[in-house]
Symmetry: C2
Subunit: 415 residues, 2 copies
């Protein structure tokens, strides 16, 4: 089913086999509209009622035996991808959820309470540049007007709202967890590839996700002065490249001390330099993460102190300025949801086949965790690679994840 | 005279006054051909015989009273500039030498031995990419065919030889210091702006140059693996950006320990990355300098050891490779030439008005010092800035330098 749905948006072939391509299915593109149509038909065929909210989030609901009016137990993820993304990130979570309902339907099985699926809109933020935006609106973190106004990254005349309208996905139900006018959820379970190497390298089949790290993203800009590398003594230099190097090394040492992460992915010299010229300006990104927001703050404080010191070292000093680009606090997942996944995992792969893991990256479950009991289920992906055409999760691992998702829903339904 | 000759190649205006522009007079361009024509006419008018060698080096010779056949005492520098160069680097040395001969001529003064001027071709290496190439051919360090074959940096169909031919500067005299067929020199004095901040910051008027630093230029390439910054623990990363940062910081500490210089001017990420992706490849330049080649070698050895260690730190390690791009050994200038400049400087600006200085940068005098007694005279330049349109040496400092050049020639002629 997963590869079937990848007919819409397949791109960036890397091998001979039909499935050896990546995906380029940007949110609310024509390809995304086609896979949404498939999702609606498929879940309706399985007896679900499909509701669309103001952000195009799709809720497919299968009625339980109790015919209770309680909010449904949801399995959610996203069908949009990065422009050079793969076939598993997000897609697996939705397609596995369809497989779960299909299995129930084929076996005539009824849960006590309603269960269902959510397809969250524009999780990647690759087209409309705010990741996890529609789950954040649902959670009340972002006003719907602000999300609607997000512009297509390559065509500012196209907004999220105009694309929702064009494809008929501007629903009437409020994008909210409020029972009065929105679509509350009883719980949210998200199956996802790990996007990291821990499960693979520890030979575990399932990660029971305890929460997601908090993270804060910064851009630092250092200004110095051009100088001849042969004729200018160190004490008379203002060398932003040397200062940036020492700051990056220092941020790494500080993060290690605190047991967190600090990483630089972008390093820019805005003006071309040469081997014998000290550059005049450097900017670099810093991404600080830890499951505890207080530790994120402590790493940030320690880095800023260290950076101010470094800026004064090695000569006449450099000027330093920075911006905070993203602030994403940590999420702590729900004990009961976690316990449901632990039971499901233990019975399928044994108590040694899974581990507790904190999600390094942000997901729609960060938003839902603020409004309903939430957890995630991780499966290994090859070499920890994601956001890349060659992103890969074996058929067997997809199946194990899907079975754990099904069993977790049944355990939770029992709770 | 200096500003008069800058009519050919003036570029990059930075102020209102007529002289407030930089220069863009690439070697053997039409502008360079025009200033060469001026140089020939002006020195012939002063009674000189002008000889052109196979590299277009121009030798203007004024006969001394002894009518000796000994090689002339030369004042040399270059009239070509960087594409975004200034009005002093090289130009000052040639124009001041013209002023010296003019002063002798106007005052009916005759030296004992022949004295004269050399205009060296393509010192900057900005158009034909090898700096100081024609003085190096003259010194026997580079075969003339190799120099002729150098291609214009933006049009490979144009070579140094074809441009020498086009402008009529492919002379018949061998580019060599060999008396049999070349043009030997008795001594070589080069007046030049310091291109660094030492004279200005120590309030000295003259630098008596004892030699030039040796330098070696490297390009290091580090290869790691893309990874998600949120999901990949440090121990599982192969982060070339972090490794490069630590290497640059380490090279700086090592150079300081040895009292030398190590500088990085170029830092490249060949593939664009993002804030939450560890990049897969980084390259950076390293420029190591010290007046003693053994110390350059020791800094290099120490850096390579440190870099190999750093490459193994912080996770799964990065691959490291490097190329040696330039190897320019230190030059030690001639005691007698230095003593001539010391005497000239002391009598003009007093014993406290000058200092001994090692040239941080390479010059044509590096080549000549291998074949004849050589030294240089430095004058201060504003903020130590060169290779920049705003490069500036005050009229007074130009005059002091020119007077010291004249007096040094007279003292040396006495020797
Ligand atoms: N899942 C994911 O890659 N989210 C993007 C934001 C982050 O870097 O955590
Ligand atoms: N004078 C000068 O800038 N030479 C270029 C080579 C060097 O960097 O020393």
């Amino acid at each position: 089913t997963l590869h079937y749905t990848c007919q819409w948006g397949a791109a960036n072939r890397y091998g001979e086999k039909p499935t050896e391509t990546g995906m380029s299915r940007l949110a609310l593109s024509d390809d995304d509209a086609q896979v949404r149509r498939w999702f609606r038909q498929e879940t309706e065929r399985l007896g679900c009622k499909v509701t669309i909210d103001q952000m195009g989030n799709m809720f497919a609901r299968r009625t339980g035996a109790l015919r209770s009016s309680a909010p449904m137990t949801a399995m959610g993820s996203h069908l949009d991808t990065q422009p050079r993304g793969g076939r598993y990130d997000g897609i697996l979570g939705v397609v596995a959820a369809v497989e779960v309902l299909r299995t129930m339907e084929e076996n005539g099985y009824q849960t006590q309470y309603d269960v269902g699926i959510v397809n969250w809109t524009n999780e990647e933020g690759a087209r409309f540049p705010k990741s996890m935006v529609s789950s954040a609106v649902w959670a009340g973190d972002i006003p719907v007007e602000k999300a609607w106004a997000l512009q297509d990254i390559s065509d500012p005349s196209v907004t999220m709202k105009s694309e929702l309208q064009r494809h008929g996905y501007l629903g009437e139900v409020a994008c909210s967890s409020d029972p009065a006018d929105g679509y509350p959820l009883g719980a949210h379970f998200e199956l996802h590839i790990e996007q990291g190497p821990i499960l693979e390298q520890t030979a575990k089949k399932i990660g029971v996700v305890t929460g997601t790290q908090g993270y804060r993203w910064f851009t630092f800009t250092l200004t110095g002065r051009n100088a001849h590398t042969g004729t200018t003594p160190f004490r008379m230099r203002r060398d932003p490249l040397l200062a940036a190097s020492k700051m990056i090394a220092s941020s790494n040492a500080i993060a290690k001390k605190f047991g967190g992460l600090a990483s630089t992915g972008i390093f820019k010299m805005p003006i071309d330099s040469s081997t014998n010229t000290v550059p005049s300006e450097i900017s670099f990104s810093l991404d600080i993460r830890h499951p505890d927001d207080r530790v994120v703050a402590a790493i940030e404080k320690s880095c800023l102190e260290s950076f101010r010191d470094v800026a004064q070292e090695d000569g006449a000093g450099v000027d330093i300025s920075w911006t905070l680009d993203t602030d994403s606090p940590a999420a702590v997942f729900d004990k009961q949801c976690i316990s449901a996944v632990e039971q499901a995992a233990s019975s399928l792969v044994g108590p040694d086949g899974w581990l507790h893991i904190a999600s390094g990256a942000g997901h729609d479950s960060v938003g839902t965790s603020k409004r309903c009991p939430t957890t995630m289920i991780f499966v290994p992906c090859k070499d920890g690679v994601s956001h890349h055409p060659e992103e890969y999760c074996s058929q067997k691992d997809c199946a194990i994840g899907t079975q754990v998702l099904l069993d977790s829903i049944l355990v939770y339904d029992g709770f």
